[in-house]
Symmetry: C3
Subunit: 426 residues, 3 copies
Amino acid sequence: MQAMSRENAGSNMHALIRELYPICRSITGGGVRETLRILREHVPLEIREVATGTQVFDWTVPREWNIRDAWIKNSAGERLVDFRRLNLHVVNYSAPIRQRMRLAELKEHLHTVPHQPDWVPYRTSYYKESWGFCLSEKQLAQFNDTDEYDVCVDSSLTDGQLSYGEYLLKGKEAENEVLISCHICHPALANDNLSGVAVTIALAQHLASTPRRYSYRFLFIPGTIGSITWLSKNEQAAKKIRHGLVLTCVGDSGNITYKRSRRGDAEIDRAFVHILEQSGEPHKIVEFSPYGYDERQYCSPGFNLPVGTMMRSPHGEFAQYHTSADNLDFVQAEALADSLAKCRDVIDVLEHNRSYINLNPYCEPQLGKRGLYEGSQDETMALLWVLNLSDGNFSLLDIAERAKMPFAAIKVAADRLGRAGLLRDV
Amino acid sequence: MQAMSRENAGSNMHALIRELYPICRSITGGGVRETLRILREHVPLEIREVATGTQVFDWTVPREWNIRDAWIKNSAGERLVDFRRLNLHVVNYSAPIRQRMRLAELKEHLHTVPHQPDWVPYRTSYYKESWGFCLSEKQLAQFNDTDEYDVCVDSSLTDGQLSYGEYLLKGKEAENEVLISCHICHPALANDNLSGVAVTIALAQHLASTPRRYSYRFLFIPGTIGSITWLSKNEQAAKKIRHGLVLTCVGDSGNITYKRSRRGDAEIDRAFVHILEQSGEPHKIVEFSPYGYDERQYCSPGFNLPVGTMMRSPHGEFAQYHTSADNLDFVQAEALADSLAKCRDVIDVLEHNRSYINLNPYCEPQLGKRGLYEGSQDETMALLWVLNLSDGNFSLLDIAERAKMPFAAIKVAADRLGRAGLLRDV
Amino acid sequence: MQAMSRENAGSNMHALIRELYPICRSITGGGVRETLRILREHVPLEIREVATGTQVFDWTVPREWNIRDAWIKNSAGERLVDFRRLNLHVVNYSAPIRQRMRLAELKEHLHTVPHQPDWVPYRTSYYKESWGFCLSEKQLAQFNDTDEYDVCVDSSLTDGQLSYGEYLLKGKEAENEVLISCHICHPALANDNLSGVAVTIALAQHLASTPRRYSYRFLFIPGTIGSITWLSKNEQAAKKIRHGLVLTCVGDSGNITYKRSRRGDAEIDRAFVHILEQSGEPHKIVEFSPYGYDERQYCSPGFNLPVGTMMRSPHGEFAQYHTSADNLDFVQAEALADSLAKCRDVIDVLEHNRSYINLNPYCEPQLGKRGLYEGSQDETMALLWVLNLSDGNFSLLDIAERAKMPFAAIKVAADRLGRAGLLRDV
């Protein structure tokens, strides 16, 4: 990516995040649909709807949640907590309620961030019917034991649909797919996971404009129940997945963290490690664990798909996580652009990683007479490495790792040798 | 083990060591028999007798050694060295002698610890007929070149028996045994190896009182010739040994040292490493070497049994080793209790280490609806790890290692999942 | 090697280097032939001649180059640059020329070492017809823009032969060969590679005088084209090579560097690493890379021979490399002797590395009754290690590595056990 287009890419992604931020998303309902509608302006995704009550493996698609308003008023009629100002104020999936009560009773339904007086936490109650409000410690200080409070959650939980977006971008190899998955269920939280959504959209746009070996399947799904639903309805399609990536929390200014797939040394794992190591930038590689986002489902033992997870600051390891401080200031265009660039670099590795056969395997071929000996020392070394290891047992990524050279340089060497008639595909 | 019972266990073991300490044991003879008789008061072991001259692989069961008294008197008739005060004073297996001689001649039969004026060394001469005395440097200073000395070893070397103790504790699986072996041939040495004897007895008592998957075979044998004799007479039984442990020098205050089996990564090795690492206590893991105690025989190439060795300070690496300073003060109840506790923890791993099959392998099962989502974060993680890796290829120990969690926590999670119908035995 | 003979070996090798140093070698021509003639006084090598134009894999044997004289004279007739004083002054393989020219034109054919005013570089132009001179910065300062210069290269490039030397020393196993290869194409450069030639000669003399399991094939060849030519004409013989070594830059005072074969863990690699580690001397082990000397050809993927490279300071990593400063002072008798000693030690490992079967595999044999228990503790440990691991799966080198003991000690133990009837060959 060139400097200018990288800058543009970053600001485009940030603009998309700003557009989506105010919408009150959840695992079902109008907020998700509105989000998918906006995303469809950027890539031609299909919006899938799965009816409430549908059995998806061990789970059941829940009722659809919609919300119009929610507030807590004091006896003077002042809105002390107002859903319309920040959609985090209502516990996501709250059942409808309209009631007057004292603070003592109300308190069991209030959530704050104890050590951050200005922050509002993000809470959900998907699978246990309940209601509640999230507010800052400062807001809570306005309440007192003597007053009475009017509480309203103007929501509905009704049979409906679970909505998700799916975009299949066909490549030369229809039977070999790369899965890119992001969760779209969080309301006004920017890094978790509008950042993942924005990078996925930008990646899809980029890949749509370039020749592709693999087919790419992009999923915009509610966390957990969304991936379970997709896997449940696509058991055969899941078998085509050769590599996969979950994108989450990819917009903050922290270094990149890559979490390996359950397999630990899948090609996607090795490609990501290679790109991060070759970048020379600080980064972290973490082992798979069965906690996190939708990689939990993709890497469940029945599927065991080669799906890794790209993050910057990992969920739960930054103070702003799941609070109102994960806002539009917390994600940065440059970080988004860097996350996109790394994904593109990794996909370049996957797209071009093949094994070749040196057609002149007995001693070195004479490079000079083919004009192949004129480049830099690094270019010559790349040629020699590709020739030396192209016995069919080593892929270009294997060669790049052993040569400790960038995959891109090894790829260029393989291309030059191919054009010189010294190399053929396995 | 609870605090109180641990304290009791430690003092019981120390009491047994005190009882056995004065007996003059050797590789054969009355001292061994008397020792086994006392041990039989604690566990119902069988006393085996194998006749002098019996061929056991490359070795021959030696003559039986018995001793009543031994001393060196000066011309005034004073006992300068007296077997009855400390049985280390006579070189173990000394042939009988009664003779008057000058110091010059006597000196070839005297042994001291040069840099420890108060200590008496422990010496043996099992396979070369000879006699000698061990004394402290201070005692030696009482001798002079002019006096004459009366030397007496009132011992006998006669055709007889080699005695050892064997206790088989049957478990559910008669064909799968765990071997626990300790040497009983050392006279008044507390750590080497009355400590091993005492911990073995306590372990046998504990296991006798609990349900058992494995059968346990406890051997109380003279070092080297004892294990060779047992193996020689039990070639078929040896094939049942799935795991084994030699216990030696387990009563001093040093950190635990575990020496791997010849295989290096046998289940006993991995279980011991896991327990020691999870303990958070300082410890040492050493590679197998063909030197040490009876693991030399169990791990000889023809058997290659998965037998490791547990020690605290390893033989030869503490100053008191094979001297009179390895006495009742050198072994401590708390260290004995800790050694026992570690053995019990390791056996818990072996007893419960199985592979399971996740019955809901496609995506995660919904834990919440089964009441499995209420515990601590660690408890939830343990559940997720067991579910994720229970594809039949990973044992609970594999899972504990990968999750970096205690085996016991993983075991609890597997039990809960089993009760919830989510897991079955392979 | 004893101290005296080591000293002799070193000075003999240095003397041979001094004798060969003045000869103007190249990849073909009279200088190579003269060099081989001198080497034949030391070992009975065959001189092979391969005609110009012969196709050798992807390459063609070039025309033969011979040179009588070369100089640059100023208008006063003074020889400013004189081939007869130093054969590096002419670019190796320069085409004949006789011409008068100004400095501006001449400069394109002059080469210096910019930061070393006294040093003359070494340059070649084998595969592109051209001419040139190498001189020091100080010499260049004598030239000016106004004078005219007479340039003469009295050389010839004609159809002829490529010459190399080959010496096959048969051992017990005619079908199993060890290859020792050195390049002989460099003119007045001492470390690169008269040092390699001298050590190869000394090694051949040594091996000729000792019993041998393997057959040894010594190649004295021009770099690159020589190994390609040999491999091209000996495809079947190459299949007999079990171990191989390229010797280059082995006379300077740097520490030994061993470069692994392409296989990475061939027996020669493991033997070299073992000897260097056991030496306790500083050294460096480097991974294979497809750059360097003739290992590039031996390790090309079609052959993939187990050939490593021994160097002291690696080519390109010392300032004197490919300059006139790589002279007779730069190589030292002691370094040559040490290089030879290490090669001999490694070959001792290869010659004696076998697997054995412990004939008494059930428990330890009784060493005492065979007089095997009298040695030092290290000697006893070596016996116990060999007995313990000789189940047919471990070679003596495997045992030495696991025991962390010198191979020679393990070998002695195996011999003693063999003589005692406790061990047999696999």
